[in-house]
């Protein structure tokens, strides 16, 4: 039809457009050209006819796929999964945690023929995934961060998450040894257990090599508040804090601000080294590529959640390749790298625990007595509501 000339023209335009602006999502443009003639119905037919060959896997993100943060980390994992023969990926970004995500899941199942869904945002789980899982018992839903409970949750729901605080602990060691002022900063979204655990692990890591180090915490109050995040970074730099790290959805602004202020920074979620080429020390990254690749192999091998072939609750740290460290930046000396790597090896070999008593919180109360040691699976760690000694900040308010 008359689509051909139009398409070849548009490809050239795309290249030019991309040079002029980076506003468009880059990765999928090329793919878009070839499939642009498709309609929803054709896609449905395709899925029905070719569904036998390719396993269709849907990924849903709450924000943009290029946020240098949480969503990008999952999109990288999805891209790794897409490389596996026999897997076809469909993706949708910027899907809010309302019934909009139910419609997206339904559409992926009904129109694209998705048999596997990875709705990645925490807030998608209850009630949205749980409702759709009841309605589509043959579709498998994998969710990041929730805790699967076989008594109440449908058997076609699985949950996975990583002990990324191991990477934060190592990042803390790097920060603690590199800081010149002994003052570190942690910009966090909300005082929830996952976040507190990262703050505490980072602090414990820093103080294990530098007992004088303190960590100033600022809670911004929400997952994506770039203005507040940049204000917090600036105020930390003003207080002579010289390493900042964070737990927010997109660390982009924090890394850029830290670089501009000439202080060090330590990343989170993905590799942010390109944003701060001078000051980036290291970062706690997710390794969803390895997790998703493993899932893909299991699924292609015919295993399912329903028959128990795939565990409903999947957790892991460094050793199971759920998380990893960013490559060390130029400011990290070889000695520091060696120290950090040594501890990392110990964690992988399970020779040490981060939460080894005695650990006091920052009000002086003993939270973990000296005869106790929590390994990463300990339920107490998932309910953490305190900040460790050395943290300057409060959980409430």
């Amino acid at each position: 039809m008359n689509q051909r000339p139009f398409l070849s023209l548009s490809r050239r335009q795309v290249v030019r457009g991309l040079l002029a602006s980076t506003a468009f999502g880059v990765a999928r443009l090329a793919a878009g050209c070839s499939s642009s003639g498709d309609t929803a119905d054709d896609a449905a037919k395709d899925a029905a006819s070719t569904g036998g060959d390719d396993l269709v896997v849907g990924f849903i993100y709450v924000g943009p796929k290029d946020d240098y943060g949480y969503n990008q980390s999952h999109a990288i994992g999805a891209a790794a999964m897409a490389k596996i023969p026999g897997i076809k990926i469909v993706e949708e970004a910027n899907v809010p945690e309302t019934n909009a995500v139910q419609e997206t899941m339904r559409s992926m199942i009904e129109l694209d023929g998705a048999k596997i869904l990875f709705p990645t945002s925490f807030g998608y789980f209850d009630p949205h995934i749980l409702q759709l899982a009841e309605e589509f018992p043959e579709v498998q839903f994998f969710h990041c961060g929730s805790v699967y409970d076989e008594k109440v949750h449908p058997s076609n729901v699985g949950s996975y998450f990583g002990y990324i605080d191991e990477a934060q602990y190592i990042a803390g060691i790097v920060a603690g040894e590199t800081t010149k002022t002994d003052k570190l900063g942690f910009i966090a979204a909300k005082p929830i257990p996952q976040v507190l655990r990262n703050i505490n692990s980072f602090t414990l890591g820093a103080r294990s090599v530098n007992p004088k180090a303190t960590v100033q915490v600022i809670f911004t109050g929400d997952w994506s508040l770039p203005v507040k995040e940049s204000e917090a970074t600036n105020s930390m730099a003003d207080q002579s804090i010289d390493v900042v790290t964070c737990h927010v959805d997109s660390p982009k602004v924090i890394m850029e601000t830290a670089e501009k202020r000439g202080i060090y920074c330590s990343g989170y979620h993905t590799d942010q080294a390109p944003l701060a080429p001078k000051g980036y020390l290291t970062g706690a990254e997710w390794d969803w590529s390895s997790v998703y690749t493993q899932y893909a192999k299991d699924l292609l091998g015919g295993k399912t959640l329903m028959d128990g072939g795939i565990p409903h609750l999947l957790r892991g740290g460094f050793s199971d390749r759920f998380c990893t460290l960013s490559a060390y930046g130029p400011a990290v000396s070889e000695k520091v790298q060696a120290d950090a790597n040594a501890v990392k090896e110990k964690l992988i070999a399970n020779e040490m625990a981060i939460y080894q008593g005695e650990i006091k919180d920052n009000t002086g109360k003993v939270q973990i007595p000296s005869d106790k040691k929590y390994d990463q699976k300990a339920i107490e760690l998932e309910q953490m509501d305190w900040l460790v000694d050395g943290v300057d900040g409060k959980v409430a308010g």
Binding site: L29, G37, T39, A40, D41, N99, R106, K190
Partner: protein
């Protein structure tokens, strides 16, 4: 002759928005070509995804329903000449109020609990926007700025309450209030997967239209909006009118919050803050502050939102594409406002009258 004139006027009201939408589609087609999509395939996909089948249309309606109630929060005060954009805050607090009431009386019969939640949500949302009216009337605080800023206060209040006093301790990583029992949930309209918010929205829009066009209260409000001094001289209680109409607008948005809680989330948490408020402002302006038009505009916006997924998945367009489309449609409709009365074809035939 009168017949003839009103016919042309009606045609103008239909043709100009339609023309605006066509212009926006054309501009969007150019954008898609630049971004690597085939414009005609994209048009067809938007149609299929938004209106192409009963299932797709339900998707559109699901997205449209909160927008109708939310839009009324801007539309009603607009009749009094107030530009209020505090919808988001009223929705968030309405949801919070509904949960508070729902949990307080959860032992009662479901219908009582639901009614209580609706009234609670409406009361809280109404009072919140009434506060804007009070500030406006007694302290001459600009209502647009104050209502916008109050959105942030409302969201902060929601966070504070669900992370503090109202928190369910078992909601570890997403702080939320205690859940509403399943029996007290609103559920969906029979035979559809669309919740009752759609019905409430349509009813509220029709009631708002009757209130404004067919009652003395509405007449008084329109008069005060037209000329405040004249209204005061005529002895109208402008202060009471301002506060009352703000309350009604806020109550509609509060009801939207209640529906989100009672039909979707089942509890109050930060998901209540999902930009239905700002979507409602958009709907109100495109509908030219007409409650009936707001129903249609909501469905149109719902359709655009519903097509966002297909644009990403079938055409590989960036996720912001639907936003670009929405922006183009709304810009061109707002611009088309300035075209009324510009085309001779739609003008009343004054010459004809003089000839007779």
């Amino acid at each position: 002759m009168m017949q003839m004139q009103s016919w042309r006027k009606t045609l103008e009201f239909i043709c100009i928005p339609l023309g605006a939408i066509l212009a926006a589609l054309f501009a969007f087609g150019i954008f898609c070509a630049f971004a690597g999509g085939n414009p005609f395939g994209v048009y067809y996909s938007i149609y299929r995804a938004a209106f192409g089948s009963w299932s797709a249309f339900q998707n559109t309606l699901i997205r449209a329903s909160p927008l109708m109630l939310s839009a009324l929060c801007t539309i009603l005060p607009a009749r009094l000449g107030l530009v209020i954009i505090g919808n988001e805050g009223a929705i968030v607090l309405g949801g919070l109020g509904a949960v508070a009431v729902g949990l307080a009386i959860q032992g009662g019969a479901p219908i009582i609990v639901q009614l209580g939640m609706a009234l609670g949500g409406m009361a809280v949302g109404g009072l919140w926007i009434a506060l804007v009216g009070i500030l406006r009337h007694y302290r001459a605080v600009n209502e647009t700025i104050s209502s916008l800023l109050m959105n942030y206060i409302a969201i902060a209040l929601l966070n504070q309450l669900v992370e503090g006093p109202m928190r369910d301790p078992s909601s570890l990583n997403k702080p939320s209030s205690y859940p509403i029992a399943d029996v007290n949930m609103l559920g969906n309209l029979p035979g559809m997967r669309v919740h009752y918010g759609l019905l409430f929205g349509i009813i509220a829009c029709i009631l708002a239209y009757i209130l404004i066009q067919r009652t003395t209260f509405g007449f008084a409000a329109r008069m005060a909006g037209g000329n405040l001094r004249a209204a005061k001289i005529a002895g109208l209680p402008v202060g009471k009118l301002t506060i009352a109409i703000c309350f009604l607008g806020g109550a509609c948005a509060g009801l939207a919050g209640m529906v989100e809680v009672a039909a979707v989330h089942g509890r109050a948490n930060i998901s209540l803050n999902s930009n239905y408020g700002y979507g409602g402002v958009l709907v109100a302006f495109v509908a030219r502050q007409n409650p009936l038009a707001a129903i249609l505009v909501s469905i149109m916006l719902g359709g655009i939102l519903a097509s966002a997924g297909i644009l990403q998945r079938s055409h590989g367009l960036p996720d912001a594409t639907a936003l670009v489309f929405q922006g183009l449609v709304f810009l061109s409709i707002l611009y088309s406002d300035s075209l009324y009365g510009r085309f001779d074809f739609f003008k009343e035939r004054a010459i004809a009258t003089s000839e007779v």
